[in-house]
């Protein structure tokens, strides 16, 4: 079943990809132009996606609902970490991300808290102060 969905996904993606390539033109004497290579790779992808849809071989087993909730929460945490790193600074966002991910992975609350409380400033000191990688200490909201 998942193979059929994957096939459909690739079919739609590659069709859109090839369709968009029609808009890419260059006026001067390049023998290939910017549109041909996308077609060279897009058309086989359309055909392969089609065969995968018609003759599937494999069906994935997804995690149970608890696992899916953990994964969705982790994705939300990761996106939040990415979006808030600059506004809030490295230490507070890393603290929250390490604590949150640790708890998701089954950390005991005290252990997870201690890990995050040590690791977030520890990584900052190690990489920014000792090794000279510039990381935002105070985010733009506080700066």
């Amino acid at each position: 079943m998942t193979d059929r969905l994957a096939g459909l996904f690739f079919l739609l993606l590659a069709t859109g990809y090839v369709w968009l390539s029609a808009g890419y033109t260059a006026g001067f004497g390049d023998p290939l132009g910017p549109a041909i290579f996308p077609r060279v790779i897009g058309i086989p992808a359309i055909l392969l996606g089609l065969t995968l849809m018609i003759w599937p071989q494999h069906s994935a087993d997804w995690a149970g609902s608890a696992g899916l909730i953990r994964q969705a929460t982790a994705i939300a945490l990761l996106l939040g970490y990415a979006l808030l790193l600059e506004p809030l600074g490295f230490v507070p966002t890393s603290f929250a991300a390490i604590l949150g991910l640790g708890l998701l992975m089954g950390a005991p609350p005290v252990g997870g808290f201690l890990t995050a409380a040590l690791a977030a400033p520890g990584l900052y000191i190690l990489f920014d102060r000792l090794m000279g990688l510039p990381l935002p200490l105070l985010g733009t909201w506080f700066g």
């Binding site: 290939l32 910017p34 953990r70 994705i75 890990t115 995050a116 977030a120 990381l135």
Partner: protein
């Protein structure tokens, strides 16, 4: 003699204090990364790359560091395989079969010593093979024209992952997806913005390093959240000192495993995991008298020699042709390309310091690893108790700070997470990630070679099928695809996991 004098020059490079320090640090980090379940060579090397950039290491030093880590991972993976029955990384799966039973019989010290020596033999023989064969292949590759390179890339994409039993259509689709992602950004020849959807952030395309960290490190986190690790519990090492007689029992198997692993490593699409699997099954067929699977020393030695030898072999196509044979070497290729060094036959002429410095460093790394993995093994067994809820969040934080340090853009962090989700979904659907990475990395070069070939012929596509080298490569590709299709037909259930090492 030519090779010897060049190798001597390489040792002069590798013996620089900074490089020696990187060898030791890389070996230590590699053994640790290999030993910790959940971190393997690909994601270990992927999270280290942004850091090597940020510290401004030159190409030679970065390659030395990453290769030491790569070799170290192959040594380290066995530690948790033997003591915990959890492979520390994917190539060590075969080591659990006889390693853990040995440990349960109180022979953990023997098993660790046998596998340590086997790793050393495998890695050293592979490094010797690399020294001898890489220059030969590089010489042959000089005769490749643009059309031949195009054919070579087609072969690389079609064959990678091809013999692991995954559906070859999926391998091709994964490669095509990588190629499609690689065309995002400004077209280098005409300056046309392709697939950027008006976003200036995408004009430079996807940074392969950012994509790699997402695909390998972030997707691993999502994977971890669904599986519960189930091992057999830490076995106390038992007697402290290994017995020399037991170590000797594994020597023959180590030699045979090294040769098989080395060949497996050179083949495109076969990484260290396949090297380990092939060495183990060969040894089992050759010398099993019902003892394999119950703690036979040869069953520990063969796969360990095999996976170490394969990792050395995998460096050959990456350095000489610019076409990596495994996930980890693909990641290293990404780093070289980002440093404006194009691997391939000319690398040996233009940057002999890099090539020979790296080779010499690998010899030194092997001795460092032997010391780390025999007398100092106790250091690493202690780390195994570290729970995943400490390790994995730290991996995330280090990925973020590494990527942020090279790009200074929150947008790239989002791209990284996006690639992480993509990598997770693709792996769930039984697509290998290595072809995606290869497509993303090699797409631009593939397009350029196609352009060059066509401008020589004045736009006639037949030029692609005229040179004998190209025709030969297409024939090999076609044979390979038929063989792997036949293989998947024969065994509907894939026996081997999708190889990413």
């Amino acid at each position: 003699m030519d090779i010897l004098s060049q190798l001597w020059g390489g040792f002069a490079v590798a013996a620089l204090p900074i490089n020696l320090a990187l060898i030791v640090a890389g070996c230590f980090a590699g053994t640790l990364i290999g030993a910790l379940p959940g971190l393997g060579p690909v994601n270990g090397v992927a999270i280290l790359i942004p850091l090597t950039f940020a510290f401004g290491l030159d190409a030679t030093s970065s390659m030395i560091l990453l290769s030491a880590v790569y070799y170290g991972c192959m040594y380290g993976g066995r530690i948790s395989a033997i003591l915990l029955n959890i492979p520390g990384d994917e190539p060590a799966i075969m080591t659990t079969l006889d390693g853990y039973p040995m440990a349960k019989k109180g022979q953990a010290a023997d098993a660790l010593a046998i596998s340590g020596v086997a790793s050393f033999i495998g890695a050293t023989l592979a490094t010797i093979g690399l020294t001898l064969f890489a220059p030969l292949l590089a010489k042959a590759a000089i005769y490749f024209g643009p059309a031949d390179y195009f054919a070579l890339y087609v072969m690389a994409f079609a064959t990678i992952g091809g013999i692991t039993g995954t559906d070859p259509r999926k391998t091709l689709l994964a490669a095509l997806l990588g190629l499609m992602l690689g065309t995002v950004g400004l077209d280098p020849s005409t300056g046309v913005a392709r697939y950027t959807f008006g976003s200036f952030n995408l004009y430079d395309g996807f940074d392969p390093i950012v994509a790699l960290v997402g695909l390998f490190a972030i997707s691993e986190i999502l994977f971890f959240l669904e599986e519960k690790a189930h091992g057999g519990g830490l076995v106390p090492p038992g007697r402290v000192f290994p017995r020399l007689t037991r170590v000797k029992e594994g020597l023959g198997a180590s030699l045979r495993g090294s040769i098989i692993g080395f060949i497996a490593g050179i083949l495109p699409g076969a990484g260290a995991s396949l090297g380990a699997v092939m060495s183990y099954s060969f040894e089992k067929r050759l010398s099993d008298k019902g003892t394999f699977g119950t703690g036979d020393p040869r069953g520990v030695a063969a796969p360990e020699a095999g996976n170490n030898a394969a990792s050395g072999g995998a460096l050959i196509p990456m350095l000489t042709l610019g076409v990596p044979g495994s996930g980890t070497t693909a990641v290293m290729l990404a780093m070289l390309i980002s440093l404006n060094i194009q691997p391939g036959p000319l690398l040996f002429e233009r940057s002999p310091d890099l090539v020979w410095g790296l080779v010499a460093a690998l010899y030194l790394a092997n001795f460092v690893l032997l010391i780390l993995n025999l007398p100092l093994i106790g250091l690493f067994t202690r780390v195994l108790g570290m729970p995943a809820w400490i390790l994995m969040p730290l991996v995330v934080a280090i990925s973020y700070l590494g990527v942020y340090a090279i790009t200074h853009a929150a947008f790239d962090l989002l791209v990284m997470v996006g690639f992480g989700i993509l990598g997770f979904v693709l792996r769930k659907l039984d697509f290998s990630l290595v072809p995606v990475v290869l497509g993303l990395l090699l797409g631009m070069d593939m397009e350029n070679n196609l352009r060059r070939a066509l401008s020589i012929s004045g736009g006639d596509f037949m030029v692609l099928f005229q040179s004998p080298i190209a025709i030969g490569l297409y024939a090999v590709t076609a044979a390979f695809l038929c063989f792997s299709l036949w293989l998947t037909r024969r065994s509907k259930e894939p026996e081997m996991p999708v190889s990413e090492d």
